[in-house]
Amino acid sequence: MNDNQNAIEIVDLWKRFGKTSAVGDLSMRVEPGRVVGFLGPNGAGKTTTIKMLVGLLRADTGSVSVLGLDPFVDGLAVRQRTGYVPEKHALPRWMRVSDAISFCRTFYPTWDDKLCDDLVRLFALDLGKKVRVLSKGTQVKLSLLLALAHRPELLVLDEPMAGLDPLVREELVDGILQTVGNHPRTILFSSHTFADVQRLADEVAIIHEGRLLTQCSVEQLLTRTKRLRAVLADGATPDAAPEGTIWQRRNRREWLMTVREFSQDTLERVRNQNRLENIEVIDLSLEDIFKDFIRGQRSTPCT
């Protein structure tokens, strides 16, 4: 892989199931070495997109390139260089943990026995146990181990933390960090757990109804997305929401708006263009910002 090639490149991607578009006109790219949190409400098209990335589904139109290859055409090559943890774990239930490991090991020329042993220890996996008796958390740990131990260039995780307790989630985060620490590795992971997203992600991509709403560094999103809370002067109506408003709501004299790329200029413009009693700037958490992006798509503007 040459240095400036994107690890993932999706262009004008469409995927329909019957009359429903799961992914509609999605374009996004992931640079090598970046850890990207893939966010979106349920049904936004995250799993469908991920399945196209690992070659399990074929795109209707548009293109998907993973590590410079078409995952549907060069499936084996892509899978050997990619670690994938699906939303629904598909490990054979009758296998022992040790069998599952030796079974997967044979597929990957780059399998690292030492890393595998380290992860068995970190995750406290019992090699003799059958997959079917493992707890949900332990099954995810095994799934993650199998995705990490061949030192893939790209790791794709579909809601790996869903439904797990905070201790297990921390162990999984540690497992991922332990392997990314040595070699910078590209990761795309979908999640609804914003604390985990903040811990792991360099940037987030937010999708809604199969389209990309934004892709931006977590730091920039947190420092530049603000909520403005204005109190309108008597009889005044909100005239102009500033450029970059992603969501707004008016309730009697209170006018709330969430603005991306906020600066002091934004504040001055809102002050100058509307008759206001006062206005304040509120910091937002990643979860608040996510919700406002989605709510803004669902509601109609109030002006």
Binding site: V35, E170, V173, D174, L177, Q178, V180, G181, P184, F194, A195, D196, Q198, R199, L200, A201, D202, V218, E219, L222, T223, E280, D283, L284, S285, E287, D288
Partner: protein, 135 residues
């Protein structure tokens, strides 16, 4: 917990404050090594890129310096800078408090009275035990 991943403050900024606090408190002195990027990533359960970003910021502001292949060390004068940085953090929290008072239309005299009360309480019993309960 040293960092809060649910906060509106970016993690790298929280990590800068965390390391600064440790230097200001004298946990790490001038010339001593601070934890490696990898070690701190594992300790705080945070992406090493974020730690790297925080260390770059600390280096840019003269708190630490990196010696290739050896690690990251507290810079000469790092403690003084860390104390000034901590002062800035305290200053900003005071400003937040004053803003809150002004928003609720408390006059400057009353805000100052509250401030003096907090100073007295903090001296009497240091730590968050000095905090008043909401009425």
């Amino acid at each position: 917990m040293a960092v809060n991943p649910d906060s509106h403050i970016p993690l790298y900024e929280q990590i800068v404050d965390h390391v600064c606090g440790l230097i200001a408190a004298g946990v790490y002195r001038s010339g001593e090594a601070v934890p490696s990027v990898r070690a701190l990533a594992m300790e705080l359960h945070v992406n090493p890129n974020t730690i790297q970003r925080a260390y770059q910021e600390l280096e840019r502001n003269g708190f630490v310096h990196t010696r290739k292949g050896l690690g990251v060390f507290v810079a000469v004068g790092g403690i003084g800078s860390a104390i000034r940085q901590t002062e800035t953090t305290i200053f900003n929290r005071f400003v937040d408090g004053i803003d809150l008072g002004r928003k609720t239309k408390l006059g400057p005299a009353r805000i100052e009275t509250v401030f003096r009360r907090a100073m007295r309480a903090g001296k009497r019993s240091p730590g968050s035990g000095a905090k008043e309960t909401r009425k």
